[in-house]
């Protein structure tokens, strides 16, 4: 018992000592859940970053001759722990951090980075956000020290509602979501944008349920069915999405589900056949988007890491853009890198990503796709070995999801 305590103390001190050495690379701290319920998502993200850094940067000359490296820090999904891990990373000499899972953790990190930079102007830190989509992060709470490489909830809704505008078959929409910020935002933007673009569409119902607490969605589906909705809009992710789709299939509900996260790790597998021709998603990429090199990259990735499926094109985009900015600025000073990233227009496999200067929000092409049976043509690759994959229904150009920003940025 005692020996274990001593042992852990010894390990702790040695870890702190080791942390200080090795400065030959440009290191980015990856602060995301690596244990606990969301560990699979965090783990997949870290592997994506490592792979992207190796193949897209290091094998192409690196950053001013140095290698780019990602190191994982486990925040266990908690906002408090995120701050502790930020401190740990700063102690070990990290000046760049990235995080994607959970708006709570992202808010915590943006706050902590802002405060740290204000209190330690000689040791500033830069935050690259690859997946936290709360619009306020580039809106009221926008920061010079934060860059987002994913489209935010509002932009995604803009893209989806533009698509719905053209589809005259849509007459009645039902909104269902998890009862927290993201679910509320999806509901709010759906109502605002649809009433503006298609006043003839009726919102026939709106339900919120607590996250991860609903086991049986049958009553919700019964309600959707009773409302006569032909389209369901949901921001649900993970099990709340898979269970919703399964219950809809069980009850024979004939409606299309517009989702944000149906392609997320594990969801296609959990939905399985239930999602066929019923589930739509909006992403910056999927396996069946014809691209020059990403398709091969994804195939190699899936082969190298069985059980994980390449999903985040934006991780690749982010890694290359950060490397580009560092090479352009000829510096790895966070402020210089931030200035070089601003207004950067970077050609990627799907078109161009533009980092808007006014709010540090990336603008990029997006795709709306539907879960369909693999046919070797439009659906060349299936998703997560289910026999079903994503078929592109519409391409959203970079300009089509752009929205004005409310950001008033304080610049150093």
């Amino acid at each position: 018992m005692k020996s274990k305590f001593v042992q852990s103390l010894a390990l702790a001190t040695s870890a702190l000592l080791i942390g200080g050495s090795a400065f030959a690379q440009v290191k980015i701290a990856y602060i995301d859940p690596l244990s606990g319920p969301f560990a699979n998502v965090g783990d997949a993200g870290l592997k994506g970053f490592k792979e992207a850094a190796e193949i897209l940067v290091n094998q192409k000359g690196g950053i001013m001759g140095q290698k780019l490296e990602f190191v994982g820090f486990d925040n266990k999904g908690s906002p408090q722990e995120t701050q502790l891990q930020l401190k740990a990373a700063i102690d070990q000499g990290f000046r760049f951090v990235t995080l994607g899972n959970g708006s709570g953790a992202a808010h915590s990190l943006i706050d902590a980075v802002n405060k740290w930079n204000a209190r330690n102007p000689d040791k500033t830190v830069l935050f690259f956000n690859y997946a936290a989509v709360d619009p306020t992060l580039t809106g009221e709470k926008c920061s010079f020290w934060h860059f987002r490489f994913d489209a935010n909830t509002e932009m995604k809704m803009e893209a989806i509602s533009n698509f719905m505008e053209k589809d005259k078959n849509i007459k009645k929409v039902f909104i269902i979501g998890q009862d927290y910020a993201h679910g509320h935002q999806v509901a709010k933007y759906t109502k605002e944008m649809l009433t503006k673009k298609r006043p003839d569409i009726k919102i026939v119902g709106e339900d919120l349920h607590p996250i991860g607490r609903v086991k049986d969605f049958a009553p919700y589906i019964a309600k959707i069915k009773a409302s006569g909705a032909d389209t369901v809009m949901t921001g649900n992710w993970g099990n709340d999405l898979s269970l919703l789709i399964k219950a809809a299939k069980d009850a024979g509900l004939k409606a299309r589900f517009f989702t944000y996260y149906a392609g997320g790790l594990g969801t296609p597998q959990a939905m399985g056949a239930a999602g066929e021709n019923m589930v739509l998603q909006l992403t910056e990429w999927h396996m069946n988007v014809p691209t020059k090199s990403t398709e091969q990259f994804a195939l190699d990735f899936n082969k190298k890491y069985p059980g994980i499926w390449f999903y985040y094109l934006r991780v690749n985009n982010m890694v290359q853009m950060v490397a580009k900015a560092m090479n352009t600025a000829k510096s790895t000073d966070p402020k210089a890198v931030a200035l070089a990233l601003e207004d950067l227009r970077f050609p990627v496999d799907t078109g161009e990503v533009w980092m808007r200067k006014s709010d540090h929000q990336a603008m990029q092409p997006l795709y709306i796709s539907i879960f369909s049976k693999k046919d070797g043509k439009a659906v060349k690759h299936d998703s997560e070995g289910t026999g079903y994959g994503w078929k592109t229904l519409a391409t959203v150009s970079q300009r089509d999801s752009q929205l004005p920003t409310s950001c008033i940025m304080e610049r150093p």
């Binding site: 319920p37 560990a39 699979n40 783990d43 009862d179 119902g205 339900d207 919120l208 349920h209 607590p210 991860g212 607490r213 609903v214 086991k215 049986d216 049958a218 009553p219 919700y220 019964a222 309600k223 069915k225 099990n239 898979s242 269970l243 399964k246 069980d250 009850a251 024979g252 790790l265 594990g266 597998q269 959990a270 399985g272 059980g307 289910t386």
Partner: protein, 307 residues
């Protein structure tokens, strides 16, 4: 329709909580790891189904879970029992942690592809244009079967009578030549096997993933407490009650304001409470019910004793 959905959900809850009630009524242990055994059942069944199919798994998986449960009782709980109820309870608390990690270690963190067998995949009947899947009917059947079998076992067989006697007068039963610790081991194994059976059936109806234990962990306690600690019939009634409450509250589209208006209280417009709908509250209603029951009728609906 709502009633049907409610009953289905209620029967599922009963399946989950019957084992817990059994263990509690027999041994006085609140088993926090109960949902972990449910998860183990689902994973074992998945593993077996990939080898030999669903039907053998339906039989074998609960037995394995029961064996694991009995081993836990024999080598862990029995020792913890000597240090009192809190130690026992905390032991199961820690066990839940370890089971979840081990499951992740063996089967990974992502959901596994545990499917409903082809024979049970389909529509049983269609009511008001909504399909009712065969599998749900199967679930209901098993659940009711469990209630009948348990009831018969406990009141109509010799072993059931010995178990009941061992509860109240362990010394006397021991003196009559029965091995009381072994009876307790059997009861715990039996209770966990029931959880395992629920897992076999619930695992493919819903999703088999490492978080599934945590997702149902506390709701089964609500069922057992509301029904009355240790009362099998109470747990059955409470399961149906909670299932229906939850389903009906989802179906109703009224807000909290409307509810208060019914009793003549008008809430200030635009306040956060007034904006809540009953649907939003649905999943927390069981907890509200539990707290209410504990305050006004600590014995639960049909419980014989308080604690």
């Amino acid at each position: 329709m709502s009633l049907l959905n409610g009953i289905t959900y209620g029967l599922l809850l009963f399946m989950l909580s019957s084992g817990l009630t059994l263990i509690f009524s027999m041994m006085g242990i609140l088993n926090f790891a109960h949902a972990s055994f449910y998860m183990l059942g689902a994973y074992f069944a998945y593993q077996i189904s990939t080898w030999v199919g669903f039907w053998p798994g339906l039989l074998v998986a609960p037995l394995i879970v029961g064996a694991v449960g009995a081993a836990v009782e024999r080598y862990g709980l029995r020792r913890a029992h000597r240090f009192g109820h809190v130690a026992e309870l905390l032991f199961t608390f820690g066990l839940a942690f370890v089971v979840e990690e081990v499951v992740q270690l063996i089967w990974g963190k992502v959901a596994v592809d545990y499917r409903i067998p082809a024979e049970l995949d389909g529509t049983l009947f269609t009511l008001f244009s909504t399909d009712f899947p065969i599998y749900k009917g199967f679930m209901m059947l098993i659940s009711v079967g469990m209630l009948v079998a348990l009831y018969a076992l406990l009141t109509r067989t010799r072993i059931g009578l010995i178990i009941q006697a061992a509860l109240t007068k362990p010394d006397m039963v021991e003196a009559l030549g029965h091995n009381v610790p072994r009876i307790f081991m059997l009861v715990f194994g039996g209770g966990t096997a029931l959880a395992g059976l629920a897992g076999v059936i619930g695992g493919n109806a819903f999703i088999t993933e490492p978080g599934m234990a945590a997702a149902v962990g506390s709701i089964v306690f609500v069922v057992v407490v509301v029904g009355g600690l240790g009362s099998l019939g109470g747990a059955f009634v409470a399961s149906l009650l909670i299932g229906c409450i939850q389903t009906f509250s989802v179906a109703l589209s009224i807000s909290v304001t409307d509810v208060f208006a019914l009793i003549g209280v008008s809430l200030p417009q635009g306040s956060q409470v007034a904006r809540l709908t009953i649907t939003q509250l649905a999943p927390v209603l069981p907890y509200l019910l539990m707290v209410g029951i504990l305050i006004f009728r600590p014995r639960g609906l049909m419980g014989a004793r308080e604690s």
